[in-house]
């Protein structure tokens, strides 16, 4: 509803513009910082670049290989406990990959937990193969979920038509179904690429020199401007992936009947054989390892303050993010320019945590009143996770029927009263959901927390990291299990249907 002359800007625009431009502060800082550095590119850099790209490509291939068949099964096959299978198979997405990397690293290899427990010699999991394995296990759900969403939007009549024309089911899936979900697969694959590029914990634990790991090493060696240069190089790759992602257009098909397949008993067993190793490796193994450690070492060394610190910083981030999300979401609904501003804020989601950390560490060094404060850490969380809040707030506000506000106004309510009595109660769920998402993401965030946390400010994630660095693996049990619990809550929220922002971060 526009009661103003068309030329006037909606009230939310100026604020949204400021917030959108804030998302680019890190880039500006990094450019300034990197210009001090002499080393643009050297031989080691080439190795880092090839490691990063190889990890990305292998992880994407692995995720497509696992994600697409699982999408077909969960979308079309009539299984018992369908919903449960879907939840379990999507669950790895919610678990931070560094938890997986840590536990896999500890479970395999000479003297690993498996060998200690069962006496079987196990190959070590590390380097490029190890990192690929972990990243694939924790990012295939992106492909599975985007592909599944595309599959569910297809009309089953085409498959039925192909089969009545004499094509087998496998052939009709291959020739009639998969070509039409290519964009869904591509969207998922690009999300996997983005996730892999920005992940810090896995390459660090697997000792693979990717950009994120090397940036952290440089930072610890006080090579802040070299870290900034590497960060910018990483951002260029991220930018390319984001650009590709904006090119992927969802194909619009008329929704139709839903395809359902009834498998035979043998086929069911085959599917079970596909599901099991994925679930065992990504969910059962970490839980088992943490469980063993808990039994062996108890809760030694753990301090409740870590959990409290995590919750405190994350809560502040969630609050600030939602407050900032409201004008951005309203601008996005109000017009095309606002939509563009909203897309600008999405940039922050693409900025890897380690890059955001590098930029804000420098900001802290320049602005002493921010140095080593909680505010700087909260700012990093907000800049990174604002898109999650914007997505949630926008989607509920968009779902609001505009005639409701009109009806309230015509019954005599002022704009203010209409907002308080109609708009606010109907969009509060989106705000709460957005805040919860930001909270959970911030709880799990590792690299920026490591770099920006005030001295002595230990969170669950940073404590887990210190335990890993110090080699006291057993002490990871409590923080690890708490983080998995947080992840489970996040998953419940994700699947409650309230929100799809995480799978739809580009605003398509």
């Amino acid at each position: 509803m526009n009661l103003r002359p068309a030329l006037r800007w909606p009230a939310s625009y100026p604020l949204a513009l400021v917030i959108a431009l804030l998302a680019f502060v890190p880039v500006g800082v990094l450019v300034g910082l990197a210009s001090d550095s002499a080393e643009l590119f050297d031989a080691h850099n080439l190795k880092v670049l090839s490691n990063t790209l190889l990890l990305m490509v292998f992880t994407v291939l692995g995720s497509v290989a696992i994600g697409v068949p699982l999408a077909l099964i969960t979308a079309y096959v009539q299984l018992r406990w369908r919903r449960l299978w879907l939840i379990v198979l999507a669950a790895p997405l919610a678990i931070p990959s560094y938890i997986g990397a840590f536990t896999l690293y500890a479970a395999f290899g000479r003297g690993g937990e498996i060998q200690q427990l069962l006496g079987w010699p196990m190959p070590a999991v590390n380097g490029l193969p190890g990192a690929t394995l972990v990243m694939t296990l924790y990012s295939y759900p992106f492909v599975m979920l985007t592909t599944r969403a595309s599959l569910l939007s297809l009309d089953a009549s085409l498959v039925n038509a192909a089969r009545t024309l004499g094509m087998t089911i496998a052939a009709s899936l291959w020739r009639v179904v998969l070509p039409r979900v290519a964009t869904g697969i591509a969207a998922g694959a690009l999300l996997v690429a983005l996730y892999t590029l920005s992940d810090f914990g896995t390459p660090a634990i697997m000792r693979l020199d990717t950009f994120t790991r090397v940036i952290f090493v440089e930072y610890n060696a006080f090579g802040l401007s070299q870290a900034a240069m590497l960060s910018l190089q990483l951002l260029v790759i991220v930018g390319l992936v984001l650009f590709l992602e904006s090119r992927v257009r969802g194909s619009k098909e008329r929704p139709g009947r839903h395809l359902t397949l009834w498998p035979s008993r043998a086929q069911k067993w085959l599917m079970f054989l596909v599901f099991t190793p994925v679930i065992v490796m990504s969910i059962v193994l970490p839980l088992a390892v943490f469980g063993i450690w808990l039994l062996r070492e108890g809760a030694g060394g753990f301090d409740v303050a870590y959990a409290w610190n995590s919750a405190h910083a994350s809560f502040l981030a969630a609050l600030v993010a939602v407050v900032l999300a409201i004008p951005v979401a309203h601008a996005a609904i109000a017009g095309r320019a606002g939509r563009f501003m909203e897309r600008l804020t999405y940039f922050g989601f693409g900025v890897p945590g380690i890059v955001m950390g590098t930029a804000l560490v420098y900001v802290g060094l320049q602005l002493p009143f921010l140095y080593q404060t909680l505010a700087l850490l909260v700012l990093a969380y907000v800049l990174r996770f604002l898109p999650l809040a914007v997505g949630s707030v926008r989607s509920t506000a968009e779902g609001l029927d505009p005639s409701l506000v009109k009806a309230a106004r015509l019954l005599g309510a002022s704009p203010r009263e209409a907002f308080q009595r109609i708009t606010l109660p109907l969009t509060i769920r989106g705000m709460v959901a957005g805040a919860a998402l930001v909270f959970l993401e911030a709880m799990r965030e590792l690299p920026a927390t490591l770099m920006l946390g005030p001295t002595g400010f230990e969170t669950l994630a940073t404590y887990l990291w210190r335990v890993y660095e110090a080699g006291y693996f057993g002490r990871a049990a409590i923080p690890g299990l708490l983080l998995v619990l947080m992840s489970a809550l996040g998953l419940a929220l994700m699947l409650s249907g309230e929100r799809r922002a995480e799978f739809d971060v580009t605003g398509k």
Partner: protein, 336 residues
């Protein structure tokens, strides 16, 4: 009394409502009808103050709204019944109907009258379409508007319900004694419900009159075709009689037509009998249950449509005898 003078509305550079003039009586129900995109919903939104107007003015009792000085919707005291009901999903039926009421007596009255007493405490999501529209109407009327706007209130409901609910709404409006403007694209609804009917075409009001006059003396061929099955038969108009190849008929000139005219024939203005030496040939016939609709080409080459009792039977290609049976004057348009 609602008075609209020279109202125009633009969307960007397109003028979607052109120079509209209307005056509405004290408890009159005015139907606005027209094809999709004729500007009827835009008119309602402009009257409600939901979109800005470009020219003209709207006046109702104490307020007057112009392009320079727009009265906000909440100050207009108008009620609106929306196509998609616009019930607040987080409030119960009772809370919806009492949205801004301090005294709930009137809300009780309308809830009872519209048969909603048993649904007071349920949320809109669990109501059927017809019940939702009744709640929307009760909410509007309970807030005592000075006039009511209805935006295709029945278009989201199924056919059987439409028929009874439209009478129920008209009765309620009359009982409340509130004037109403009701927008529809259904010409049958417009003719049967309205005290007056306005036919819109391309943002302009082509005719505004009683349903009877709009139907029998349409101001244009567009109105004639829009309101019902229309065929045109050539003839000569002389002193309120038209001589046609099917015989003489009383005629009434539209827009000063004289001499060569086209006479508007409705399917029930003609009779049809199978006859070897008849004056027409059947092109096609449609069986409609109680009746049959024939398309017949006459000597001059014009095609007319005739509705007969289902007992009269002729096949395509058969010769039939047509005769004009009407006694009321038929509209005569100048030959194009």
């Amino acid at each position: 009394m609602l008075k609209v003078s020279n109202l125009s509305v633009d969307y960007g550079s397109t003028r979607v409502v052109k120079n509209l003039n209307l005056a509405l009586g004290d408890d009159e129900v005015l139907m606005l009808v027209g094809p999709t995109g004729c500007g009827k919903t835009t008119i309602l939104q402009a009257l409600a103050g939901l979109i800005p107007i470009s020219e003209g003015e709207i006046q109702l009792g104490p307020w007057r709204s112009t392009p320079q000085k727009s009265v906000p919707p909440e100050k207009r005291n108008v009620g609106m019944v929306f196509q998609d009901f616009a019930l607040f999903p987080h409030l119960t039926v009772q809370q919806n109907v009492c949205f801004r009421l301090k005294d709930t007596a009137l809300a009780d009255h309308w809830l009872k009258l519209l048969g909603l007493e048993n649904f007071r405490h349920v949320r809109p999501a669990s109501l059927s379409g017809g019940q939702k529209q009744r709640v929307a109407l009760a909410r509007t009327l309970a807030h005592e508007p000075a006039f009511v706007l209805l935006d295709e209130p029945l278009s989201n409901l199924d056919a059987a319900l439409k028929d009874s609910l439209r009478w129920e709404i008209r009765e309620a409006l009359k009982a409340a004694g509130i004037p109403a403007i009701w927008v529809t694209h259904d010409q049958e609804e417009a003719l049967s419900i309205g005290d007056r009917v306005g036919i819109l075409n391309g943002g302009e009001l082509e005719q505004l009159d009683t349903p009877e006059r709009c139907f029998s003396e349409p101001a244009s061929r567009f109105v004639a075709r829009f309101l019902g099955e229309a065929s045109f038969l050539p003839g000569q108009l002389q002193q309120s009689q038209v001589e046609t190849e099917l015989g003489m008929a009383p005629g009434i000139p539209i827009d000063g037509a004289r001499g060569a005219v086209d006479l508007l024939m409705r399917p029930d203005d003609l009779s049809l009998l199978p006859a070897e030496e008849g004056n027409g040939v059947v092109d096609w016939v449609r069986y409609e249950g109680c009746s049959r609709l024939y398309a017949v080409t006459v000597g001059s080459g014009s095609q007319v449509r005739v509705r007969t009792s289902h007992e009269v039977h002729a096949d395509p290609g058969d010769r039939v005898q047509l005769a004009i049976i009407t006694t009321h004057p038929l509209a005569a348009f100048a030959r194009a």
